[in-house]
Amino acid sequence: MRTVTPFDTSQHHIHTEFFVTDQTGRRLRFDGVIDTGAPWTEFSDEFLARAGLVELSDDEVPIKPNLETQKYAKVLLPSLTICGHTLHDFKVMVSRFDAAWGIAALIGLDFFRRFRVTIDYGQGVLVSEPL
């Protein structure tokens, strides 16, 4: 199914909302950034913990201040919906995110390589269709 997802062209990155299904079956809604420079999708461990999908390990992850995500594990998401497309058992990196980034995930090429994707800044839309 072809979907058209609007985004705010005034922002520094392409932000899009997405859903993760938690362990109780509820769909939690988050804001993320499309990162075409990232081979893998990364999720904030704080919000994966909220969904009951990982356990936080504050004491075991040395974090460099600012600037960079800090990948330290992998996890299978039972259900992830982005741009109207739902993937099951999708593997993502578990990362430590800085709170000031204001996002819960970086959506990488592992998600988008499954789709024909057009980023249309003229219309402010992301058009995607499964390959």
Partner: protein, 104 residues
């Protein structure tokens, strides 16, 4: 003696359910623009949100708010429609790496 519809409705709700409904009614539904004005540079836990035709969050009830992302991420919520949003400008600039000792 006739029975008011409201009495019937109240009778089939538990006290807890009724209290929750009344509490939700008292809280104010805000637009996303209003949330950004009222809670600048904060993380929000938004419940019972509504979306536009493009499925973008346009309004909801702020269940919890804080500058501390951890607190918001772990805050309880009973709704089936839960969203997490940040009202400030993202400082993310695109750099990434592996955590020390955790190269995968």
């Amino acid at each position: 003696m006739p029975v008011e519809v409201s009495e019937v409705s109240a009778a089939i709700l538990t006290r807890h359910q009724l209290a929750h409904i009344l509490e939700m009614m008292e809280r104010e539904r805000l637009s996303w623009a209003e949330m950004k004005r009222q809670y600048p540079d904060q993380w929000l836990l938004i419940v019972d949100y509504e979306t536009d035709d493009a499925d973008r969050l346009v309004s909801g009830i702020v269940e919890f708010h804080s500058t501390d992302m951890h607190q918001v991420a772990q805050a309880p919520a009973q709704s089936d429609r839960i969203a997490f949003r940040y009202t400030g400008e993202s400082t993310f600039r695109g750099l990434r790496s592996y955590a020390h000792r955790y190269a995968l």
